[in-house]
């Protein structure tokens, strides 16, 4: 069948979610033409009118990738045969316009200054031997200070609600004292606190820790951003996580940056466009090839190719297009696919016999947390691990199928289970430990030799498992959580302090998967430079959590957004003015 060829544009994005939306808004406002290729369909606030349906959205993953069409394979080590994820579980990538940035919770952080220099900082404080031989943690090739203006851009665009803890180097009470210096206060004050979160934050404060409000992309009040986009305040309906927001209070690309790009008349979104290959001459990308909704092949030439898909697909498309040097975990040579990480997560609940918490009133980023045991915010000498976890008292809702826990020792079924569910449903506060995920030489993304997608192209193979460092970290952190639970005076508790025997494809961790196209300052060990430009293809920019050399103890979207603004700055103010390597 003949390929349908389109006229050349300045930039083509592969996928249209947060990163593509930000890039399209910035590029089109500077006068450039952009085509966004979205393999899903259009959707927006009007699609979420009957959204309060836990079965359809949370259990059946209505807004998420269809694994019948395309999935991943997993092996726990280099020796084990990889098996496909036959259904979603451990992570939940979105599909359709806006991607995963539709069903996210809106928890929006900046990573710590130390996170960007984790390797150097760890060696400086603890010596070379503190990094186990299998661990491949790397500096990002960019500092927090360099990224700060872009964080600020993202937060003001999205209307992040929060309280600064460090303004230009001065510690401010009520915020996170461990954060990097901010150039100004959050654009919107924090959300209202749910009672369940206050009970545990009070206990934390009593122990001398530093609780602060969850930074939120769910607006507590009407907000007009610097682009002139006005959004509604949150209704605290408790249906963010896995759901679309029917009032537009939750920031997402379709309610913020995409309308800005479309208003220029220079941004075209094509839906049902599934990119399967980038054409190139070994030094420059020339065009992208995609299937349309009828299975026909189209070719879209572009001066620049912006890889803005979900983490996995950025890596997979480079490998399937034979671009960059594929990573080989046995020789540790090559770069594309290295340093795959996820998030190390455990949790628990406290139960209060004398409280009614109305915990179904909440939002995806409605809670308090402490960072006293995050990153390198505490002394690790003698602990046998590096890194840490944020400890979150969150009130994302009380959906009865998935968000009801029962005290430790309750049977899993029968009259005693029923009684516990009835008794404790609205008397519990949830704690999440969101741990760093460190990179290892063996943990990587490669093309699977066996399993294929609906078009016959190889799936991505993940090699990943929990490591001893992760186990020690979570035992230590959960010990601190146990202290907080005791101090809280809760009637009963439930706490998981041990990771499973193996990483489990069926157990939701988070959708924070990272790496594969990591950034850095050295072409031998990274895929993109600190403008997110590929070292090997100067007109290809890869933007997303696939750039993270490893994961921090916070949600990734704030950093993903900052990186997108960074790439946009590089393209608009440097690359388009004088094409060539930016670093």
């Amino acid at each position: 069948m003949a390929t349908i060829r389109h006229p050349e544009v300045d930039a083509v994005t592969i996928g249209v979610g947060w990163t593509a939306g930000i890039l399209a808004a910035e590029l089109t406002r500077a006068g450039h033409t952009v085509v966004g290729l979205e393999r899903g369909q259009l959707r927006g606030t009007q699609n979420f009118l009957n959204t309060h349906d836990e079965l359809r959205f949370a259990v059946d993953h209505d807004l998420m990738q269809d694994t019948a069409q395309e999935t991943w394979t997993l092996r726990h080590d280099l020796r084990e045969p990889a098996l496909p994820f036959r259904e979603l579980g451990a992570f939940l990538p979105g599909t359709d316009l806006g991607g995963s940035g539709i069903h996210w919770n809106g928890q929006t952080f900046r990573f710590h200054p130390r996170d960007f220099t984790i390797r150097t900082s760890t060696i400086e404080r603890y010596g070379k031997d503190a990094i186990p031989p299998g661990m491949s943690i790397a500096d990002w090739g960019i500092t927090y200070r360099e990224l700060e203006p872009y964080y600020d851009r993202f937060e003001y665009m999205a209307g992040i609600a929060g309280k600064a803890g460090n303004l230009n180097g001065h510690i401010v009470s009520g915020g996170n004292p461990f954060e990097g210096a901010r150039s100004r206060e959050y654009p919107v004050p924090p959300m209202k606190e749910a009672q369940s979160a206050t009970l545990l934050s009070a206990a934390s404060a009593q122990l001398g820790y530093h609780p602060f409000p969850q930074p939120s992309a769910n607006l507590p009040q009407v907000y007009t951003n610097p682009d002139g986009i006005t959004r509604n305040g949150c209704t605290y309906c408790g249906f963010c996580e896995r759901f679309g927001c029917e009032v537009g209070a939750k920031a997402s690309a379709p309610v913020t940056v995409i309308p800005v790009a479309l208003a220029t008349g220079k941004f075209e979104i094509r839906t049902g466009a599934n990119v399967f290959e980038i054409k190139h001459d070994g030094k420059h990308a020339q065009s992208v090839l995609y299937y349309d909704g009828q299975g026909r092949v189209h070719e879209q030439p572009a001066k620049t190719v912006l890889m803005t898909a979900f983490t996995f697909n950025n890596t997979r498309l480079l490998l399937n297009s034979k671009m960059g040097r594929p990573y080989d975990p046995r020789t540790r040579e090559g770069v594309v696919g290295r340093n795959f990480t996820h998030q190390i997560v455990l949790g628990g609940s406290t139960f209060w016999s004398d409280k009614r918490l109305n915990r179904y009133m909440g939002s995806g980023a409605n809670g308090m947390l402490i960072d006293d045991f995050g990153a390198d915010n505490f002394d690790h000498h003698g602990l046998g691990f590096i890194g840490g976890a944020s400890i979150i008292y969150q009130n994302t809702g009380a959906r009865p199928i998935q968000q009801t826990t029962v005290p430790e020792g309750t049977p899993k079924w029968g009259a005693a289970w029923k009684d516990a569910v009835r008794t404790w449903y609205d008397k519990q506060s949830d704690i999440v430990m969101q741990g760093e995920c460190k990179a290892y030489w063996d943990h990587c993304l490669e093309l699977d030799p066996t399993y294929r997608d609906q078009y016959g192209n190889p799936l991505l193979r993940i090699t990943f498992d929990f490591q001893e460092d992760d186990r020690r970290m979570m035992r230590y952190i959960s010990g601190k959580v146990a202290d907080i639970m005791r101090a809280s005076g809760a009637t009963k508790t439930m706490l998981k302090s041990e990771l499973a025997a193996h990483y489990d494809t069926t157990v939701y961790q988070t959708t924070h998967v990272n790496g594969g196209t990591i950034m850095g300052s050295d072409p031998h060990s990274s895929v993109v430079n600190n403008w997110l430009q590929m070292w090997d293809f100067e007109n290809v920019f890869v933007v997303g959590a696939s750039n993270f050399p490893q994961n921090a103890c916070f949600n990734p979207t704030g950093t993903v957004g900052a990186l997108a603004y960074r790439a946009a700055d590089g393209l608009v103010n440097r690359y388009f003015k004088k094409p060539g390597p930016l670093a």
């Binding site: 309060h52 209704t235 569910v421």
Partner: protein, 231 residues
């Protein structure tokens, strides 16, 4: 509980085949055992399969002093509808082979059959196992024996399951009972919203137009309303 002799399995399997071929099962059934819901036409289960699911779901969530049980909430009807639709067919499951037995835990569903296949196989295996070990079909046992039977499945004791391991089926079943208790009533379970009433979930936050944004910081003031679903 005694291990089941191998001959029993053979007999059980042949019985299952006989049932599948349309012959009446040559076992006594307790006529006093009522058909539980029977209010709507079954979409997937045979009447006997439905009886098994309803009986076991009732033991997972029994009617008691705390309120109605799984039977009253139409949990088996919910599961019937679920298996008749996209979920039952594994519509969003990746179904390409090869199908390998995992070497380690954590790989989830790795069999070529669909959820409805898994149910059909498991329910027949459960009845065969119940018949062999407790002398009656699962639905005809006393509640205490049904609990014993569930504990056997939960512990992975039966060896006559052909699709999912008993432990995996048990987890699958628990998840579906939970959904049938607490999903929006438009899916056929949670009848009279009894699941939500039991715990105090108000249902669709838009139902009453009450501003949660003004209520969330009113600590200690319970929001008690009759729950409403989307329908």
């Amino acid at each position: 509980m005694k291990p089941v002799p191998r001959t029993t399995f053979l007999r059980g399997s042949l019985l299952s085949l006989a049932v599948a071929a349309g012959c009446a099962p040559p076992r006594s059934e307790n006529a006093a055992m009522p058909m539980t819901s029977g209010k709507r036409a079954l979409q997937f289960f045979s009447p006997q399969e439905y009886r098994t699911v309803a009986a076991l779901a009732e033991r997972i969530f029994p009617a008691d002093a705390n309120g109605p049980g799984a039977t009253d909430l139409h949990v088996a009807d919910y599961i019937d509808g679920r298996l008749a639709g996209a979920f039952g067919w594994g519509a969003r499951m990746y179904k390409q082979g090869p199908f390998l037995k995992p070497e380690t835990s954590g790989h989830g569903w790795q069999v070529p059959q669909t959820p409805r296949d898994a149910y059909r196989d498991s329910l027949h295996a459960i009845d065969d196992f119940a018949n062999a070990n407790y002398g009656a079909l699962a639905a005809n046992l006393t509640p205490d024996r049904q609990d014993d039977l569930l504990r056997d499945i939960e512990a992975g004791t039966p060896t006559n399951f052909n699709v999912l391991e008993p432990k995996a089926f048990f987890a699958f079943f628990l998840a579906h009972v939970n959904e049938g208790l607490f999903a929006d009533p438009r899916y056929g379970g949670n009848a009279q919203l009894a699941g939500w009433k039991l715990v105090g979930f108000p249902g669709d936050p838009m139902a009453y137009g009450d501003p949660y944004e003004k209520l969330i910081d009113q600590y200690g003031v319970p929001y008690d309303v009759a729950p409403k679903g989307l329908a």
